[in-house]
Symmetry: D2
């Protein structure tokens, strides 16, 4: 079985990783890759170790010749292309934020712009380890954000067991490598600005990824407004590490809930007691790892790690693609 | 006025910074600098940009010819040398942990070894901005740890105003550059292990610096056992950034308490609203900076930053030295 | 066809990479991996993203149960183990320096110690792109050093065509990531010493890798004593970039000689005119890349790049292994 | 004596360093600092550790109220402002390339644009250790480029003694931190592009700094066209290290020539035999350091290091300023 796919937005960090995975996926034939700025060149010119793949503009891409598309486009552009693809019977894995929220109203609230294709909402949220049934055979899947992936893998198992103390703050102190901010040139992302530096940004209740996290937690009974999310920019190219502080009713039960949730999962590891999750566990892999440590009183400390470009974006997109087409979930990944 | 000083333990990162400050201090004459491993060489051989200062062993150092000593020695060695100096009328600024705890029992509890000179305890704790009166003219001063400096500058103003909600957890998510781990060769500190990596260690209730932090907070009415302290190792050479989550009774009052505490302080800045503290504010300076951001509900987020080798060690030691000798507090520092 | 292999010295950077390659090699069964310091633990404890492979001591390793061994041992230890394996009919790929020089006298001259197994010399030198015939079916192969690999790939094609001007200096300005210095804890390799720093070491005519380079060049008619080799330590974890300055009789012919030498090679690319070789071309890949630029007069500038742990060590070892067993040369590598 | 100065172009890396030096210079009063993009804000908003200095546009700056100006402007803009200042009797230290070449024709050849103020050429070239007489009391000084500073400090002493073999290539393999490329946002300077990477650019005979180097060497009898200059981009924020390969008639005499040239110089050190120059010798200092090592045959290897933002730009500008006003040359610097 060969599935013909196209990638929109191939020259960003996420697109590069996605192309690399698809190039070694046994059931995939990559038919096109787009870039508005680099059309007419090879992907190798955008990254010297990438495969030698010609780039075309979005308009030139033969959408009618593929079975599925991966969208690594800016938001609003992504929703439009998703609607166009679905209308032609082409399946969609969207790596932008456009399809993650269930309603256009929520989207407009957080993204300060009307949704470009409200008619295709809602779409299944593609975090396989937290619920893969809705993803099997889906026509469209919203690929989660990088921070939400790391956060929800740690919190949802506790919420499902009712272990989080009602009304308490849920604190997510998150640290991300700079590739999470994209590949567009900005002064604050220059090497000379980032090396030796470290700082928080958009902390408290303002980062857009709060919307996804709280939407998913609300489905598990955690009311909105309790999450405190503090992202920080790490002087590394890739990786996210979340240190989360949760008030729980029973610390050993909470630790067990996490172990139980991921027993048998090939891509998410609940680490054994005493082993702390580090970026080195996951960077350049499609895996997540989680460790738990008792704090004081009712506080449990949960550390979760992913590669923001892989489990936080491209490898998870391929997990979702595999589920969509009823392929083995780790095809192309291990 | 010229004060003759000696430095014990000059070749570690802290010692190097201290020597550099003392070399430009207008009232100081450096009489000796010690190193057990590098005695007989120049300090320049330990660091090519350091002043050309001969190193002697601790035993060779003419303790009788100085007015004060700075101790950058391993713990237990430091207490012994402090006692010896004080017995000869030489004043002491101790940068080790040996004199920070008020009782030998506390020391033994946290450091798992008997105190080497219990008779010289207690000694004033040298965090000038939180209480400089006890430091003026002192015979000995315990220089605070790097993490405690960053933590206490953020928390003590709230505790003094009674703004921290009783019984709530106080969460300190701390990130430190690797120079905090010292200059002794260890595999986990190799460049190839640290670059691109990031991780927590000794989190929860186990790091020794908890003892100092809780001792000082207890003096301000915060009972022991509530602090959750999660240090992380950053891939930078220097700098500490603490992100702290505190439950307070009145968020604006808490923000004002911090501004009030540091109004007029030359070395600690409460940043204006909207400006977030970053390592770039303080690295290679003797300064601290603090920003505050409301979280959700009663949670206030406090970010504090210092250079672990300066305000977290050597420049604070010189502040303490200046207070000890009734010199202007920032002599040699600005 | 399954070839049973063992790896001696699995926990260093080279060993880790080798194990990772062997774990996905379709014709290999890894029977054991040794570590004197970590025997009794899993390889995952030495590196959290490594496969979960038990480590045994060298003495415990069942040498009799394997068809081939890879030796990532310190020099002299390696030669002894190589002799032992060969005596039992087990083939050897040696990643140490022990088997690279053709005579025990040369070895003793450069390594200042007698050779531990002179009776097994000489052994074919495993740089496949410069001569793979001697490697097919070999009982033992000496895997080249990292610097020699990068250097010889650039220089040998010119030497073979007689393009290097007689008597002129051949200048190799080499820059290597720190993993080339190994994983043993040393102060000068600490993150805080390396970050932001850069410097040459062992420059001129003293580095041991000169012996390998000049031995191979001598076979191509370049007399010994003309090579000037200046290695530098880069603040990156992996990768070597050589900038080489060679006086040639005909610059376009020299550029063509390099293109011709690697036409059709799957793992060495002579880059098209105008494209400069960078570490990003090769890091974390088994590839080498070479670019050439005219200097002034008769000077040709050749830039060659490899990943020191892969083409400079472990992936080249697997190329050699594949040739030894008449497998496709890139098995396990692409 | 107080000299009133203005700085044009204060928010780039060079401008920031210059302001920091001037702020502690005992004879300087900084009257204005300009920035077209950040006018109306404080310099602290461009860099959190900078002094709190208001920024104005170039047009708003009160040129008539100062005795001297430092120009950190893009080329062509700089020449125009220099001419305007000189016409008003204000002295000029120009950190751009505009005044470095002696003739407008040379400028146009290398910079591909007509010179904006040919009437003010030639201007003394401000490399004090190679000739400070022309700088004392000068009305205008051209501050050398960063690469030329590092290169000429190593080569000129040999040229003056006639030690360089006629007709031989002079090879400068240069490595620079990324701040040398400026603070304007460009994709190739992003942290995620630079970290872990390293590569040469503009090698051979194309980099514009060749013009300055060869102009100065020509004055010492080295004809143009022999210099081969290969800059590389290092993953560090600051520092330049040049490894230079020169054919000399007498290696010990050449080493002695360098020692003699800098004996007694406060800011340039010829290192003792066996000590290799490293970035750590000079980064964040106004110093240069030079080491020499015999290669093979007639090749001498010279390693020179500077901080590209200090001795390669701003601290050298202040040396030149001090000479211009007959102040002690290291005022404000040590």
């Amino acid at each position: 079985m060969t599935i013909r796919v196209g990638v929109y937005g191939a020259t960003g960090y996420t697109g590069l990783e996605l192309i690399a995975i698809l190039a070694r996926h046994p059931e995939v034939e990559l038919r096109f890759a787009t870039s508005e700025n680099s059309a007419g060149t090879s992907l190798r010119q955008s990254h010297p170790a990438a495969p030698d793949i010609p780039l075309v503009t979005s308009d030139e891409a033969p959408l009618g010749e593929v079975d599925a598309v991966f969208l690594c486009l800016p938001h609003t552009a992504s929703a439009k292309k998703a609607a166009e693809a679905l209308a032609q019977g082409v399946r969609v894995i969207d790596l932008s934020a456009d399809l993650r929220l269930k309603t256009a109203a929520d989207y407009e609230h957080w993204y300060k712009t009307p949704h470009a294709a409200p008619e295709i909402l809602p779409v299944p949220y593609g975090l396989p380890e937290l619920g893969r049934e809705a993803l099997r055979g889906a026509k469209a899947i919203a690929n989660p954000g990088c921070y939400p992936t790391a956060t929800l893998l740690g919190l949802v198992p506790l919420a499902r067991k009712g272990l989080i103390l009602p009304g308490t703050p849920i604190i997510v102190d998150a640290k991300s490598g700079v590739s999470g901010a994209g590949r567009t040139a900005k002064q604050y992302l220059l090497f000379a600005e980032i090396t030796g530096n470290f700082y928080p940004y958009s902390i408290g209740r303002v980062h857009r990824h709060l919307s996804e996290m709280e939407q998913t937690l609300a489905e598990e009974g955690i009311e909105k407004g309790r999450l405190i999310f503090s992202p920080h920019l790490l002087p590394v190219d890739r990786g996210i590490l979340n240190t989360m502080y949760v008030q729980v009713s029973d610390i050993p039960a909470a630790q067990q809930a996490i172990r139980d949730a991921y027993a048998g999962e090939p891509l998410v590891a609940a680490l054994p007691g005493g082993e702390m999750a580090t970026l080195a566990h996951v960077v350049r892999t499609p895996r997540a790892a989680i460790s738990t440590t008792p704090g004081a009183g009712s506080t449990l400390i949960i550390v979760s790690v992913i590669d923001n470009l892989l489990k936080g974006a491209s490898s998870q997109a391929v997990q979702n693609f595999n589920l969509m087409w009823n392929l083995p979930e780790t095809s192309g990944l291990l």
